[in-house]
Symmetry: C2
Subunit: 254 residues, 2 copies
DNA sequence: CGACTTATTGATGCACTTCAAGCGACGTGG
DNA sequence: CCACGTCGCTTGAAGTGCATCAATAAGTCG
């Protein structure tokens, strides 16, 4: 598993052999978590950084009105809570969507790392900043587009991110989300999500069956939603290597 | 000015004398920038990290439709673009709202810092993570609340952040925003922002005159909007010192 | 197979948008 | 000093995207 973590980080930043040693010494716990389970809740003191190795999770908050707002979808290779450093307590929850394989990395390990291992630190920072760029785009998406483009944009983003970690093929990827999940992240009602998905289907842009989503014409869907991938920062430098990610496959197999 | 930067960072993390030296050696350029001017545009290769010393700025994108979506307001003490590290080119623009005093810190300085100065690095990370927490809350705000609560929430947040850097007194703070600025960040039309502000005024919650906003009953406005300050992470640890920030006043004076 | 959850569809209402026009403040030039 | 243009704020009227309520169909799992 350390191997997985090392490869993830090296996709951002060259690491020394000593860096490798430190990461190897982490020995994070591996866990299988069922679907619809919270990994950590708002108010909890964070003790581990969670790394998703397999499955889908989300970052969310519950509003005073009782409404759930999802702020991020987490896919294999994503850290859940690098923000552990500033938070004495979590200001949001993280819960699984599907069943997940999760690595728990103790918080203390990161204190040690940021104290003495600048390359690892910079790689972690990199992860956090990409997450932030995605978050910004979500804000743009919700604030600036209407329902059909908004959902189409999300579907494009998920395709790109899942392709980057080898979890999509033939423009098809697993889709364990309920329509209410989509509703809660797009700021829409479940009913309207349903109608919007129907519209995208009837336009021949997507097919959704057996919890699996297929995008028939990626470029068309991108054009429809106004999607550009620049904010994912996939194209340049080491990131490009991330397009096929053997360590993820390996981690899933083991 | 270095003094300003040092104090900002020390509000997050204890720094050694050597750290101080490094920061003092930076000698960032100070600039006065007019209102409605871009500091950096989408597509530009970032060469400096901009630190706002005085005035208001914003982070925004232009959608294919031509619509502007504002993703963040930047107030004195905020870094504009710590994300310089991963971006070969900016994926968004940063522009001033009012006239600003800005410190330009060369990108290279951060390479040196992250290479050899872990405490400074951690303090910078902290800044970035607070920014991200604010961004998450904006997403929640736009996705989950309707116009009147949404705008009220923004006004609460600005009060808290400006109080934290000593730029608000008597629950009053400078308000250089046009209604179209509010519209473009809240995902609303200018007309509806106007009506909503009128509603907040007629409820006796706020007064807005001479480009200055007063919140009459802060607790009432918080209750109205469902605002809780936890996501700003102001209350714990070193952050509490930030409530009165002499260095900002000093920087403005000089 | 029966119980429960999730997807789908219809009808109605509202929050917000869009279009359009008037108003006030401000600065500029004659 | 006033006339005028500009820009931001304000208000009205009409339209629409989406929410809400409600009921049925289609999975899904024990």
């Amino acid at each position: 598993m350390q191997d997985a973590l090392i490869r993830k980080l090296e996709s951002y930043e060259a690491l020394s052999k000593q860096d490798h040693k430190v990461l190897t010494a982490l020995v994070p716990k591996l866990r299988h978590v069922g679907p619809r389970v919270d990994l950590i809740s708002e108010g909890d003191p964070p003790e581990h950084v969670h790394l998703i190795l397999d499955g889908f999770a989300c970052r969310y908050k519950i509003l005073p009105s009782g409404q759930r707002q999802i702020m991020a979808f987490l896919v294999p290779g994503d850290f859940c809570d690098l923000n552990v450093f500033i938070l004495d307590e979590m200001d949001h929850c993280i819960g699984t969507i599907s069943a997940c394989q999760v690595a728990d990395i103790p918080r203390h390990a990161f204190d040690v790392i940021t104290e003495s291992h600048p390359h690892i630190t910079r790689a972690l920072w990199w992860c956090a900043l990409v997450d932030e760029a995605v978050l910004r785009e979500w804000l743009v998406n919700i604030g600036g587009r209407q329902a059909n483009q908004r959902i189409a944009h999300l579907l494009c983003e998920l395709l790109m991110r899942l392709q980057a970690v080898g979890c999509a093929s033939d423009n098809t990827y697993p889709f364990p989300f309920k329509q209410s999940d989509i509703a809660d992240c797009m700021g829409l009602s479940e009913v309207h999500v349903n109608r919007t998905l129907r519209e995208l289907r009837s336009l021949g842009l997507i097919t959704l069956k057996k919890r699996s989503l297929t995008i028939h014409d990626v470029e068309a869907l991108k054009a429809f939603s106004g999607f550009t991938a620049n904010y994912l920062h996939l194209k340049n430098g080491r990131w490009s290597e991330r397009r096929s990610v053997p360590w993820l496959v390996q981690a899933q197999g083991g």
